[in-house]
């Protein structure tokens, strides 16, 4: 079990990580989600022992790691761009940790074969890293990390360097591989979809501090404040009278603020809210609208594909209560 207590990392006068507490139980995958510059990578490097702590402690099963150098922590680190050893073949890379442990040649070869199969790259052993695509390189990096049989796998934006389609596919693979191997993992990313796809627990980080943590579902359903909600993919945060109107239309009790996903408002049927269309953009899956809602102001809405209103048209909106998140003021830690 990893525990991070009061950890602070600073570069000169600037605090990259400021008094962070986190816990990660064995077998779980925790994603630290934050925009770039939020200090999440510094936190990861501090856990790996690559960045000295200004304050606080990182411990494993209650044992403080302050005096333990990186190579004795048993925490394998997977970089954003893989950092494969270019002078070694794929098999050489994957078998690196096995050779360090003095595993016999035959045993190492068969283990490397298993791992390459696990990441879907059977038969790639003799290739050189530079001949691989970005996705293949990340798979090799993952296999190399798993070969170390780490107590904890640290993943630094493992999929960010890949294109969108590949990212989705690899995220699903990554989750499955981590589950199957029962690996405890700490993932940092700025991409909420990557975090949701891979992790079962989520910590949101902003300006060096953790602002919210919980299971992915909890965090997703109840963001702690407006900024977190926007970062998690909610399209707008409505306050005051506007919030009251939308909540009433959804059949919910009134609140000070509500975060609204784009898909929370559906146009083109019959519903509680009246609006006029401001802008229209068609996508293959849906029609995306910007609407001016009576008593609310500008908001986003979606419509069924094929239906194409013109700016100025009057529409009716239905509100989906499951896609709203009520924000409680003063709840932030």
């Amino acid at each position: 079990m990893l525990s991070i207590e009061g950890v602070t990392v600073s570069f000169g006068a600037q605090r990259a990580v400021d008094d962070v507490d986190l816990r990660l139980d064995d077998g779980h995958v925790l994603a630290v989600l934050g925009p770039s510059g939020s200090g999440k990578s510094s936190l990861l490097r501090a856990v790996a022992g690559l960045e000295p702590l200004r304050a606080g402690r990182v411990s494993w099963d209650g044992h403080d790691l302050a005096g333990t150098p990186t190579h004795q922590r048993g925490f394998a680190l997977m970089f954003q761009d893989g950092q494969l050893f270019d002078h070694l073949t794929v098999a050489g890379n994957v078998g690196y940790a096995l050779r360090l442990r003095g595993l016999g040649r035959a045993a190492a070869r068969s283990r490397v074969g298993e791992l390459l199969e696990l990441v879907g790259l059977a038969g790639y052993g003799d290739r050189l890293p530079r001949t691989l695509s970005g996705g293949e390189r990340q798979r090799v990096a993952l296999a190399r990390s798993l070969a170390a049989e780490p107590r904890l796998l640290l993943l630094d934006e493992p999929l960010s360097a890949l294109d969108a389609e590949l990212r989705v596919r690899l995220a699903a693979d990554l989750r499955q591989i981590l589950r199957e191997s029962g690996t405890t993992a700490l993932l940092v990313t700025h991409d909420q979809e990557e975090a949701f796809a891979v992790a079962d627990r989520l910590a949101v980080m902003r300006a060096g501090a953790v602002v919210q943590q919980g299971t992915t579902e909890e965090v997703w359903a109840a963001p702690v404040d407006a900024a977190t909600a926007l970062f998690l993919g909610y399209s707008r945060v409505l306050t005051g009278a506007a919030a009251a109107v939308v909540l009433a239309a959804a059949g919910l009790p009134p609140a000070d603020a509500v975060a609204v996903r784009r898909s929370a408002l559906t146009a083109g049927g019959s519903g509680g809210l009246l609006a006029s269309v401001v802008a229209v953009r068609a996508t293959p899956d849906e029609v995306r609208l910007v609407v001016d809602v009576d008593g609310v102001g500008e908001a986003d809405a979606v419509g069924a594909p094929g239906w194409l209103p013109a700016p100025g048209d009057a529409v009716e909106l239905r509100v989906d209560a499951a896609r709203l998140a009520v924000l409680t003021p003063g709840a932030s830690p």
Binding site: G74, F75, Q83, H87
Partner: protein
């Protein structure tokens, strides 16, 4: 067509100079050996190569160069790490100071080592004077800096994340060094070792001054043979045989180095890592670096002290003697006339010649670099250009002695009777410095993206305007740096100069060598004082260059 014509015109000047002042002399020298009496005769060559003395000389060259190279690399690696990777106070100053041994005139190194290990020197008790160990010390002294600089520059640019990844996979610092860092540094280490071996194997001044006629390398043997110092008569054939052997060996060695340097993936990811604070596991490297720095400082300090002491007193006598022209064996006091001119005048000669050699080397080097780095439009053009590039690296592999002697025997007949021309010495020195100039300028010109020129042209800039906008801003610093190196090389050049210098216009290294070869403590002391002056002049130039902060200087 106009483009090709323009390039050919640019290439014509350096090619012409190289043909007349390099290829002609060297082939003239070799011809004396291979066609001794106007008929082709390889038997003489074979006979020379089979002789006992030749075998001894070759073996001596190989083993001293190998030992010196291994020692230089072993001593240079920890220092390269410490001085280029760790955040230490005065690191910049130390790095700059380390450039000095690299360009120190070989006669100065020779006299400094002699002063250190001589009977009255601080290391005199070891009894190393006149042994091969002293020669190895001298060779290591000025080659460690090459290793530190070449490997250090590569180390500094090394991405530290692969090492971190290995560390996170469970590799200890030593294992990270062995499995990740050293493989990544291999090209730099092999380059450095190859260059050091080349310098050691063709090292002239150090071996001549510390070995005399007793211990001779191929290079000094060529000198001794052509000056008739061994049997009393000039032995062209033997000298030519050794020159041929040397050229062949150098070519083979460069090919081997190119092979060793080849790595599975040659692309290097450049990422300047910030210097790290020293940690506990850096202590051995720090200690080793301290020892290396001490070993480099010791000969220089001993030389300085020696030049200031006479009969146990501190004195400036030897510096005052620089006004004189040496002490003749028979005469007493100053001005006996061992040399035809005062030592101070020789310094003036050296400086004047160095200025000439510098502009010549720069002009030629710039032309060669521009021709070599223009983007080739066809495969033939590319290979012609590669050959051109290789042609101008030749002076690196051909011994300066061969070149100097070739000058002597080929440029003395009309229409090329240049033996009394004051430009002969600067031309020879410029050719010796040329590879260095080209190696400084080519990487810079190569780093200019061709699209920058295209962008300038598309905005309406003509060729000259585009040159001023794109090339000149990035090139002026490296040009100055190259000028500094050419100047320093010229100041210290001894091998070629010793043949062609006119007796009434000697250079400082030639004067130092002559003073050392003459009896009398005043002569020896004056030689030390002159060496200090020469070293100081060279150091000043090189430290000024270092302030320009041109990356990659010293990576040949």
């Amino acid at each position: 067509m106009r483009r090709v014509a323009g390039l050919l015109a640019l290439a014509a000047v350096p090619t012409g100079v190289l043909a007349v002042f390099f290829l002609l002399p060297v082939s003239g020298m070799l011809q004396r050996g291979v066609w001794p009496d106007g008929s082709f005769d390889l038997g003489g060559i074979a006979e020379v190569l089979g002789q006992e003395r030749t075998r001894k000389v070759v073996w001596f060259t190989v083993w001293t160069s190998t030992v010196s190279t291994v020692a230089s690399v072993a001593m240079g690696l920890p220092a390269a790490y410490v001085l280029h990777r760790l955040a230490l106070p005065l690191r910049g100053v130390v790095r700059a100071a380390l450039l000095v041994p690299f360009v120190l005139p070989t006669v100065v190194v020779g006299i400094a080592i002699r002063q250190l290990v001589g009977p009255s020197g601080p290391l005199g008790f070891l009894g190393l004077d006149g042994t091969p160990a002293a020669i190895v010390m001298g060779l290591v002294f000025f080659n460690v800096a090459v290793v530190i600089r070449t490997v250090g520059t590569a180390w500094e640019a090394l991405d530290r994340r692969p090492a971190e990844a290995a560390s996170a996979l469970g590799a200890s610092p030593l294992q990270v060094l062995r499995t990740v860092t050293l493989p990544a540094l291999r090209p730099a280490i092999v380059s450095a070792a190859a260059v050091v071996f080349l310098f050691c194997a063709t090292g002239f001044g150090v071996v001549l001054m510390l070995g005399g006629t007793r211990y001779s390398s191929v290079e000094t043997e060529i000198y001794l043979l052509t000056t008739g110092a061994i049997t009393g008569s000039v032995e062209y054939q033997a000298a030519a045989a050794l020159s041929l052997l040397q050229i062949a060996a150098v070519v083979v060695m460069l090919l081997i180095a190119a092979r060793l340097r080849a790595v599975p993936d040659p692309t290097v990811r450049r990422l300047r890592a910030p210097a790290a604070r020293p940690r506990a596991h850096d202590v051995p490297a720090l200690v080793a670096t301290g020892v290396v720095l001490l070993a480099i400082a010791a000969p220089i300090l001993t030389l300085l002290a020696g030049s200031l002491r006479q009969d146990g007193h501190w004195t400036l006598t030897y510096y005052r003697a620089l006004q004189g022209s040496g002490q003749d064996a028979g005469a007493s006091g100053m001005g006996g006339g061992l040399l035809r001119v005062p030592v101070s005048e020789a310094l003036g000669n050296s400086l004047r010649i160095a200025v000439d050699a510098t502009w010549m080397a720069l002009l030629l080097g710039l032309l060669v670099s521009i021709v070599v780095t223009r983007r080739a439009h066809s495969r033939t053009e590319a290979s012609v250009r590669n050959a051109f590039d290789g042609l101008f690296m030749l002076p690196l592999g051909v011994s300066a002695v061969t070149l100097g002697f070739g000058f002597l025997i080929t440029l003395d007949d009309p229409p090329l009777d240049l033996r009394s021309s004051p430009l002969l010495v600067p031309i020879a020195q410029a050719l010796v410095a040329l590879p260095l100039v080209v190696r400084v300028l080519v990487p810079v010109l190569q780093s200019i993206d061709d699209r920058q020129r295209q962008a300038a042209a598309s905005l309406g800039a003509g060729p000259l305007r585009s040159l001023m906008t794109v090339e000149v801003p990035v090139l002026w610093r490296p040009l100055l740096a190259a000028a500094g190196f050419a100047f320093a090389v010229s100041l210290g050049e001894f091998g070629a100069t010793s043949f062609i210098v006119r007796a009434q216009v000697p250079t400082l290294p030639v004067v130092i060598y002559r003073l050392i070869g003459s009896p009398g403590t005043l002569n020896y002391g004056t030689a030390m004082a002159a060496s200090v002056v020469l070293a100081a002049a060279t150091a000043l130039v090189v430290l000024a260059v270092e302030r320009l902060r041109v990356p990659g200087v010293g990576v040949l």
